[in-house]
């Protein structure tokens, strides 16, 4: 009596199959991983080294053992609560100034992006080209003249310039938002229109709530940029108002009673603490950043 069962196929376990990979493939993989590890190490080293150097003895250089022994953690508390310069104070200033510039920028850039993406008007294309053009003007070209103008209107020693920069958006961010909004289904505009929304309401209640990923991207880029700003803080703000950037740059951590005004370890400790917030901010939102860039598709 013949049975209808088919001959059983030999069970090829996955493990067995993998071993058949070619030699050159394995070699290639190893090479890739080795390169990545090497490069990653190279990229981490400066930060790591800076961190290690911050734990060295006050006024010491970076000579001696690689890992300092003992680890002078007190450099950090010294940098934090240095008597004549309070880190918390400057930290507060930095946070304030960064937010002052970033938050309005993100919003006005979204607005402008929305305007460019969804409205036809005479002169729109020309203005858009102008906007792109502004990104070509080297910063150094205009910044001293801007300083001059701020001087004339007595806005030096105030925080107003940051607010004004905040309000005037950012060409790159506008470009980002425009790309993003051009891909919104037009029907949403129509539905909102029929539901009774004017353009402003449509923007605030329909577009903005659906822009979280791009808002995050813009916030990261602008926030990190402003946090690290050195030149404007040093030019426009006095010692009391200024941000962490100039403080750390000029190595204000003068150890008491010394004649050297540059103590590397404490300064580096300050620099480390100064670096943590943007790094943290970035770690928390990096997934959104990468996705945001993909969504808007930089294709030139």
């Amino acid at each position: 009596m013949s049975s209808l069962t088919l001959p059983r196929l030999r069970d090829k376990s996955p493990r067995r199959r993998r071993r058949r990979r070619s030699r050159s493939w394995v070699l290639g993989r190893a090479l890739v991983y080795a390169t990545v590890l090497l490069l990653a190490a190279a990229f981490v080293v400066p930060v790591l080294w800076g961190f290690l150097a911050s734990l060295r003895q006050h006024q010491a250089g970076v000579g001696g053992s690689i890992v300092p022994n003992p680890l002078h953690w007190e450099n950090y508390s010294r940098a934090w609560s240095y008597p004549s310069l309070s880190f918390p104070h400057y930290l507060k200033n930095t946070v304030f100034v960064t937010s002052l510039a970033t938050i309005p920028t993100v919003l006005t850039s979204a607005m402008a992006g929305f305007g460019f993406a969804r409205h036809r008007a005479r002169g729109r294309n020309l203005l858009f080209l102008f906007m792109i053009g502004t990104t070509f003007v080297p910063f150094a070209v205009t910044f001293l003249m801007s300083y001059f103008l701020f001087l004339q209107v007595h806005l030096v020693d105030t925080y107003w310039p940051w607010f004004l920069w905040g309000l005037s958006a950012n060409a790159g961010m506008i470009f980002l938002f425009r790309q993003f909004y051009m891909n919104f289904p037009r029907e949403l505009d129509d539905a909102a229109s029929i539901d009774g929304c004017g353009r402003l309401r449509t923007f605030v209640q329909i577009y903005l709530p659906n822009s979280t990923s791009i808002l995050a991207v813009a916030s990261i880029i602008m926030g990190i940029g402003w946090w690290g700003d050195y030149i404007w803080a040093s030019l426009l703000l006095n010692n009391h108002q200024t941000t962490l950037s100039p403080i750390i740059a000029t190595g204000y951590y003068e150890p008491p009673g010394s004649n050297s005004f540059f103590s590397v370890p404490e300064t580096l400790a300050g620099a480390m603490m100064y670096t943590i917030p943007p790094l943290l901010f970035f770690f928390l939102l990096q997934k959104k950043l990468a996705r945001g860039i993909v969504t808007t598709g930089v294709k030139g």
Binding site: T35, A40, V62, A140, I224, I231, S245, P246, V298
Partner: protein, 335 residues
């Protein structure tokens, strides 16, 4: 052939046409939404440019906007002096030197940067594990604020015991290289590539991801090696992104000035810091003419000679794109 289907309905008298145009409303909304940017563009963007140009034609020195009297000597206010600053600049060896320095740095850092960014992106895109981790590490350098970057690299490049010298010494080279004073340009380049590649890497990564997998599969069936696929598929399809990165890098290099300043040995003067010759890029030269020497007109004139040069170079790069940038629309255009 239209059929009038409402025969019999009461005719309604038509009101004369009064166009409250949708078009007008739309344009109004447009200008409303871009108004913050537009105002900022005019006052914070255009005005400084115009001011700069005007200043370049005057003998403004930072103080003499209006006339003033000191010690009984009356100094008149700044006035128009024509293009004399420009001619002076064109004969100034320091001016040309700074341009050369900028050019030299650009020629090294731009290709180096692009190769690094592309290389990193390719590595990350080759299907390795822990992608997020590597991506974070490579991008983190970009996130570090400028001031901290330079401090870290000062420690790295320290003459006595900096890790850079240690590594070189380990491989048999000299152990006490003075980077800051002796090889400032090399130091600057290392810092720029390290700190600037993160964003470019992400952009190249996005570009790589957008290449359809099927192309590589078809190539494999056709028998192409990995290297061949790279040259024939990856590179050509990446040319738009390449162009974008090229232009962005160009703009970045032409704007850069904080890094050389912050890397100077001793930073007590801010803008007035001493910058070793190797790093005296154009921007530093112009800046210090204004900030140190006080000759605003001269610095502005230098800038206004530089800008058209830069625009020319950028335009040339753009134009060259016609020959090497793949444009998706071309493929179907001629059929």
């Amino acid at each position: 052939m239209a059929i009038d289907a409402d025969a019999g309905s009461a005719t309604v008298v038509r009101k004369p046409r009064r166009r409250v145009s949708f078009r007008r409303r739309e344009a109004l909304a447009f200008y409303g939404f871009i108004s913050p940017w537009l105002l900022g563009f005019v006052f914070l963007g255009l005005l400084p440019i115009i001011a700069g140009f005007l200043i370049s034609l005057s003998n403004f020195n930072g103080f003499n906007l209006h006339g003033y009297t000191v010690n009984g000597i009356h100094h008149p206010g700044a006035h128009y002096i024509g293009f004399s600053k420009y001619t002076r600049a064109l004969h100034d060896p320091y001016f040309w030197q700074s341009l050369k320095t900028t050019g030299k740095i650009a020629l090294i850092v731009i290709p180096l940067g692009i190769v690094t960014q592309l290389g990193l992106a390719l590595l990350l895109n080759s299907g390795i594990k822990f992608l997020g981790l590597w991506r974070t590490i490579f991008f983190a350098a970009f996130v570090v604020p400028v001031v901290a970057k330079t401090d870290m690299w000062k420690a790295v490049s320290a003459q006595d015991g900096g890790v850079l010298n240690r590594v070189i010494g380990f491989f048999g080279g000299p152990k006490h290289i003075d980077w800051i004073n002796g090889h400032p340009t090399a130091l600057l380049l290392m810092l720029l590539v390290w700190g600037g590649s993160g964003i470019g890497m992400l952009i190249f990564l996005a570009g790589l991801r957008s290449i359809p997998e099927e192309l590589y599969e078809a190539a494999r069936i056709d028998g192409a090696s990995k290297l061949r696929s790279f040259w024939a598929i990856t590179l050509p399809l990446l040319t738009p992104v390449l162009m974008f990165e090229l232009v962005t890098s160009l703009i970045f290099v032409s704007s850069m000035f904080q890094e050389p300043l912050l890397l100077s040995p001793g930073l007590q003067g801010g803008i007035a810091s001493y910058v070793p010759n190797g790093n005296r890029v154009f921007n530093i030269e112009a800046l210090q003419q204004i900030g140190v020497t006080g000759d605003w007109g001269y610095g502005a004139a230098e800038i206004w000679i530089f800008v058209p040069m830069l625009l020319f170079v950028t335009a040339a790069v753009f134009y060259s794109g016609k020959f090497w940038v793949y444009s998706a629309s071309e493929q179907y255009g001629r059929e």
